[in-house]
Symmetry: C2
Subunit: 157 residues, 2 copies
Amino acid sequence: MSDEYIQDQWPEEGTFCWGCGKNNEHGLQLKSYWEGDEAVAVWKPKDHHMAFPGILNGGIIATLIDCHGTGSANAAAHKVAGDSDQHFMYVTGSISVKYLRPTPLNHPVTLRARIIEMGEDKIKVSCDLYSGDVMCATGEVLTVRVDLGIFLNIGKK
Amino acid sequence: MSDEYIQDQWPEEGTFCWGCGKNNEHGLQLKSYWEGDEAVAVWKPKDHHMAFPGILNGGIIATLIDCHGTGSANAAAHKVAGDSDQHFMYVTGSISVKYLRPTPLNHPVTLRARIIEMGEDKIKVSCDLYSGDVMCATGEVLTVRVDLGIFLNIGKK
């Protein structure tokens, strides 16, 4: 069911992101879901997502960790809020990624994220990226809460 | 002259990168050049590189800082080596990016990088991203030296 995916539950304005927007036909269209307390995503690179022949690009890896991280943070905040109609949004304040080894281009990668700090204004997420059983990269995403209305109106100015 | 661009001086294997490879038609095709001790790149987003309407995606920003950083590090190492035929390559070991404010999607961005630590095994680069005169993001890229032959053969296995 598509309702299982975190990104499929977002309002329309949030579905054009290059990393995870279902309505961005040129984007990566990452889809994340909960597996217990862990947010998981499986994503298959295309040939042109390369760094060097056979190796996945580091910027693509950073994008996946970023979007999976913010997706997890927003979903975690909504879990806490329950069925509340409250609108809020967390965006990336900072990100750090360590590249542990080259990531193969021709295999799906799996992202596994956990909430490691949960505040009202900030949520920090840790995220590992695997190729098969091998961890190839690990990162942290510090997300900050922004006013949804003000933020979404920036682009209309 | 295309020879002014750092990425145009790379061997063919290095020209397919999604972030900065001139031979990756789907990629960002970032091009960097020296302006004194500062490496500079100007890059124009496409509409689909969005995070939200009117706002540039953070993963794209991380990719630009990553590729501009490694490009600067490699070019700096080659400067030190002079006209030597020695082959070496620095790739990203880790990256951190702070997003200071939303980056407009409909304007070119300018990247300005400086070498802040220069070792034989590691080179650290600091890189700021501007929209017009406004700094929107800042990051650091720690690059590590790898064996060119071994690294480029990974993808052929």
